[in-house]
Amino acid sequence: MHGAPHEFTLADDPPRAKEYTLKAAFLFNFLKYTTWPKGTFERPDDPILLAIVGRDPFGSLLEHVLSKKKVGAHPIRILRFKSVEEVKQAHAIFLGELSAKERASLYARLAGKPVLIIGDERGLASKDGAVASFFLKDGKVRFEVSTEAIRRAGLAISSQLLKLADIVEKRR
């Protein structure tokens, strides 16, 4: 009940609170451990554009948590696009609630572009899908990564992140 103006008022939307609080922190780490191709940023203090496409499960959380943070000298700017058609320039994209069709259309639009696409359910990371994707296992947040998708996007991701990931290509 702190954080709320009076004793009995409870946290809003208790449902996803903690899950997405965690995921927001993971997102920050993903940005931190990713290197974009040379020339992606003109200046070292250009913002990293993180876009949420589709319905945003974070609410205003990302603004609260990430907008004050920097990755190197890069501030983080949060963008939101309701539909795939609206998607403009972004360095990283978090897939909100989207249909499979919408996701496919997004992947097609971004094919070959250096965009870190992050999904929110198991199975989305693949060589022609998202680069990484969250899932829940045993009540904890886990993430899968497709090394093939990293390569195709022309990104580099630190081994510190990869060693904790469920690598899609290693599954049999």
Binding site: M1, P5, F8, D12, P15, A25, H64, V65, K69
Partner: protein
């Protein structure tokens, strides 16, 4: 105070109460997360390493989600979530309140309800404080809530917090037996347009249109319009059908002002027309009869709230609202304007103290007009309410928290009132909390008790050769009813999928209301005017408890069960002439059970059902079982189709004993179909 001779209290009105003060509750999603830590700390986990992040548990089941938010609260509180409301098929706020364990909700007519926790429900239930987004809707005409006035687009409700037991320290007078705190979603939650159409046996047609989107660079706007046409309850023996129709609309804007500051501006306007049967009295045979009564409620309100959370976590909130209400009926009419101003500040003091204090002011101007049977003196009032409160949450050890504070307020009816409380919460292990409290709360007098003259009936041939007119008159000496409550509770979440919440209470009341005989004066024409007046000649205890358990049988299926027990032990001053002062004890069910199931049959189909058992109310209302069932199909995220029946197994029977206006309407099994579309 309901006695057979004195059907009493009218239905009406008045004020008194001032009540509530309200700590604005900001439904800001910034509170998401662990409510018991500083905001930033709770939300920002970016300083943790990946390894650390991967070791943290996520709350996944709805049981644990709900339990987490409540876990450390040192009060008996239950939260009805937006999802609960959606899945219940409820079409009005009172119907949604049936979901709260321990609350007694009885429908009286198309729009009127008797709602209270821990007893004292009735058409003029006066011990529950009700707030909508920080605006008190507790009527100053009579101490209580006109439920027909209170409605919203239900999809806009983020949650309803139902607190059983007193909340006087934070909320002020009249939060005696409980608080119902209705909180709507921030405007940014709605982006686009939604349409809801509902039709059925009772809700002939309910149409809700909502729309929302960004407003400028940093703002969001949402608005709604809603029309309802209702009827179809079983009429009392008079056969007078009840119905209601309403049109209402409202908006909310939220602005991010930067630097931790936010501004909310919101408002509603409405008109609601009701028809119901009421009892009227006349000095000659047949002395009393039932007639159809039309009541029209109109009103509007506008609220602004500015709040800022500084870097150090200090939160300052300033809230003001203006609320205009009008009621128009054959028996009485009333116009009322409330202007309310509240300031609150919350800050850390040292490492272990979290202090919150507030100041409040309310100005009320009202004009009441009676009829042949009802008179107000004075008819016009202009009253002020001043209040201040302070409360400290002291984190004594990692596991023990002490909360103590008091409210001091001054109102026009009973003067100075002091409402302190002390609470503790002790957590042992990760998911178990023991809490307890001692608190004082008052129910302040109202216009009804101090200002009225109301004809309650005629007794033919009493004494022989005369007709006695019963006239209820105001008593300026009527004092506040006072409660000192002792509560003890335990909340535990033994596994991720189960939770249990137990609350025990002992409420000790002083100065409870009674209806006394006054003077008998011959007034000519064979009539004797026997006056009656309110006094405070009863004391007593209520005691009992509430138990709520939840279990997730699977990811897709949650069951919730609850039980509440309520016992009365009242004692009446021998000087009292009240004919049946303890009737109030017969108007509360001793035992109530509720069992509710939420089941996702497939990702797109839902089956929900609920069963209630409500004990008998004295000799007059038998115990009953009531059921609701709903099937929902969600082919896309924004399209939902629901069909359901409410009030199963409880056909034609009333839910509450006859009151001041005679018999109430009976429950019916009512079918509905609801379609939601989003664009």
């Amino acid at each position: 105070m309901h006695t057979p001779l004195v059907p009493i209290l009218l239905g009406l009105l008045p004020p008194c109460a001032w009540a509530s003060q309200l700590p604005p509750s900001g439904p800001e999603p910034t509170d998401v997360g662990v409510p018991s830590d500083g905001l930033d700390d709770a939300l920002d986990l970016t300083d943790l390493s990946l390894e650390e992040l991967m070791s943290i548990d996520v709350e996944v089941t709805s049981v644990s989600r709900k339990a987490e938010a409540l876990e450390e609260t040192a009060a008996a509180v239950y939260v009805i979530t937006a999802e609960d409301i959606r899945r219940s098929g409820a079409t009005s706020i009172p119907e949604a309140l049936r979901l709260a364990p321990g609350l007694h909700v009885a429908r009286l007519s198309t729009g009127d309800y008797a709602i209270s926790a821990r007893g004292f429900a009735g058409e003029f239930a006066n011990k529950m404080l009700v707030l909508i987004d920080g605006r008190s809707v507790y009527s100053s005409l009579f101490s209580g809530v006109f439920w027909p006035q209170q409605d919203l687009a239900l999809q806009d409700i983020a949650r309803i917090e139902v607190i059983r037991g007193p909340g006087g320290t934070m909320w002020g007078a009249n939060a005696v037996n409980g608080v119902i705190n209705i909180i709507t979603k921030p405007a940014r939650d709605l982006d686009g347009t939604t349409v809801r159409l509902l039709a059925g046996d009772e809700q002939k047609l309910v149409q809700t249109l909502r729309g929302g989107g960004p407003l400028g660079e940093s703002g969001h706007l949402r608005a709604y319009a809603k029309t309802t046409v209702r009827g179809g309850l079983a009429p009392p023996p008079t056969g007078i059908e009840g119905d209601a129709s309403s049109t209402r609309g409202g908006f909310r804007t939220d602005w991010d002002l930067g630097d931790g500051a936010e501004l909310t501006v919101q408002g509603d306007g409405y008109r609601e027309d009701h028809t119901r049967s009421i009892e009227v009295f006349e000095p000659s045979a047949p002395f009393q009869s039932q007639q159809a009564s039309q009541r029209r409620y109109t009103g509007g309100n506008l609220l602004g709230r500015w709040s800022r959370t500084a870097e150090n976590g200090t939160t300052t909130t300033l809230q003001s609202y203006f609320d205009h209400t009008e009621i128009d009926s054959e028996v009485f009419s009333e116009k009322r304007d409330n202007f309310d101003l509240d300031f609150q500040r919350r800050f850390a003091w040292g490492d272990a103290h979290d202090l919150i204090f507030g100041l409040g002011f309310r100005h009320t101007q009202s004009k009441a007009m009676g009829s042949d049977s009802l008179d107000f003196s004075p008819a016009k009032r202009s009253d002020e309410l001043y209040s201040a409160f302070i409360q400290d949450e002291h984190q004594v050890t990692d596991n023990l928290r002490l909360i103590y504070g008091t409210k001091v307020e001054h109102n026009a009816f009973s003067g100075l009132e002091i409402q302190p409380n002390v609470r503790f919460s002790l957590s042992s292990g990760e998911h178990t909390t023991l809490w307890g409290s001692i608190s004082r709360a008052v129910r302040t007098p109202s216009q009804i008790e101090q200002d009225i003259s109301f004809i309650q009936g005629f007794l033919p041939d009493t004494p022989p050769g005369f007709t006695t007119l019963l006239e209820l008159t105001g008593n300026d000496d009527f004092e506040s009813e006072v409660l000192v409550a002792y509560e003890l509770g335990l909340r535990t979440r033994p596994t991720e999928a189960t939770s249990l919440d137990i609350a025990l209470f002992l409420h000790s009341y002083d100065n409870l209301s009674t209806t006394e005989f006054g003077t008998a004066t011959p007034i000519g024409g064979g009539l004797i005017d026997q006056t009656l007046f309110f006094d405070n000649l009863m004391d007593g205890f209520t005691y009992g408890g509430e138990v709520v358990g939840q279990v997730s049988l699977s990811e897709n299926w949650t069951l919730q069960g609850s039980y509440s027990l309520l016992l009365f032990d009242l004692s009446v001053d021998p000087a009292s002439t009240d004919v049946d002062p303890k009737a109030i004890a017969d108007e509360a069910p001793r035992n109530q059970f509720q069992l509710r199931s939420s089941h996702d049959l497939t990702p797109a189909t839902e089956l929900d059902w609920a069963l209630w058992y409500v004990d008998n109310l004295g000799q007059q209302i038998d115990s009953y079982v009531r059921g609701d069932v709903r099937w929902g199909w969600n082919p896309t995220r924004e399209t939902q189709l629901s069909v359901g029946v409410q009030g199963l197994f409880h056909d034609g029977e009333e839910e509450f004993a006859p009151g001041a206006f005679g018999s109430y309407y009976g429950s019916q099994s009512l079918f509905y179909i609801r379609l939601d579309l989003g664009f």
